[in-house]
Amino acid sequence: MTADNLGGWPDPQPRMGFFTDTSVCIGCKACEVACKEWNAVPDDGFELLGHSYDNTGGLSANSWRHVAFIEQPVPTDVLAEAEAGPGDMRWLMMSNVCKHCTHAGCLDVCPTGSLFRTEFGTVVVQEDICNGCGYCIPACPYGVIDQRKDDGRAWKCTLCYDRVGDGLTPACAQACPTRSIQFGEVGELRERAAARVEALHGQGVGEARLYGHDPDDGVGGNGAFFLLLDEPEVYGLPPDPIVPTRDLPAMWRRAGLAGLAMAAAVVVSFLGGRP
């Protein structure tokens, strides 16, 4: 099974994902709204959080895109402030989303087969299967997947599975005014991201770096990765995420074979009993 056919599809499609370039994010939150309109995600309550312009708070069952705002002033004391040089601050913005991990903890632990790997290599909760057991929630190293209070089921970004299946761009990426969110084949996006980092370095933005692009990281690389302008922790991202089920695949493989042997017997008996 290659990284491009994580789901064992007979006719696998290229792996699709997001490259979110935070260096051009303007924090407009079009991604949040476009996602909700397309996916009919409920509102998340009307509460002023006091976290800069972030009133969403984080990714949740009812927020599948979340724009983080980080104000980074140059430290000055109150009295000196009027004398400080103007403009010497940064306001970082980042649209966060499910990472669609190569090794997805949520999918690994899902007992119902609700979470599955699509032909595009994305990780999707199937709302008609999910029974609300919640095993997936602690299994996500990013804290992305979440249960909806009123129906108990788990919800998160589907990378607009329905749209992508029809050759369309996911709603958030389609709306994004500045192309901070780019959708495409993961391999191509990785090349684009590397070129962008290089270009920014050339423009003197030495702090530009990628996050989640590396197939050798603790989750085997992400289908949705980011260009950041500071350490991941600054954005509320784990610096070194490790899928809690990292050793599971081998275990599954063994368990799977045993299970299949049993299932095969059942199927044979069904077929045998056909009139």
């Binding site: 789901g7 699509t118 299932a263 056909r274």
Partner: protein, 189 residues
């Protein structure tokens, strides 16, 4: 559903016979997931429109199915917006389909403490009556030196910056002919 179909749809069968021995991909796909498609594709019609919020003029595509708007998204053909929309433009479907929209005439009588419902034709007739009366009561034919004025200062209007040119044209034409001068819009604000 025949038994074969049923069986072949059964994840474990597919896991066994397909290419997904771990049962977490193709074999786990539910019938609903398999049948998913973008609702824009099955819409009855698509109208080419323009975002109603700011004046950038982003292109919108409005998809309608069974008499309901099912999606509004950016029009990739627009050389202005190239398919993109801001959060407000992206919320246009909510704007159009909101259950908070007023769908019938609401009337508050003088000194009233609550709304009452009113039939549209009745309301139109009442408004026409009031325009005629306000005009008659406040009409000015000429100034003190006999120069024509042809106007009423008893009627005022404000609005128009989110209306169509064609609508503004009729508004101005009618009010001007009625002698109503005090016609203003957001452009003064």
């Amino acid at each position: 559903m025949g038994v074969r179909t049923w069986i072949e749809g059964w994840p474990v069968y597919r896991q066994l016979t397909g290419t997904d021995p771990l049962g977490r991909g193709a074999a786990a796909q539910s019938p609903r997931s398999r049948d998913l498609s973008a609702r824009t594709g099955s819409a009855d019609s698509m109208a080419r429109s323009v975002c109603p919020y700011c004046a950038v003029g982003c292109g919108q595509r409005i998809f309608v199915k069974d008499g309901e708007v099912v999606q509004i998204e950016g029009d990739p053909d627009s050389p202005i917006s190239r398919g993109r929309l801001c959060p407000k433009g992206s919320a246009s479907k909510s704007l159009v389909t909101s259950d908070r929209r007023v769908r019938g005439v609401l009337y508050r009588r003088p000194f009233g403490t609550d709304w009452e419902e009113l039939d549209l034709d009745t309301a139109m007739g009442m408004i026409a009556d009031r325009v005629v009366a306000a005009r008659a009561a406040t009409w000015e034919d000429a100034d003190e030196e006999g120069r024509p004025l042809n106007r009423t200062l008893g009627i005022a209007s404000l609005g128009g910056a989110t209306l169509d040119n064609e609508e503004n044209y009729l508004i101005k034409k009618l009010f001007t002919a009625l002698g109503a001068l005090q016609i203003e819009n957001q452009a003064r604000i």
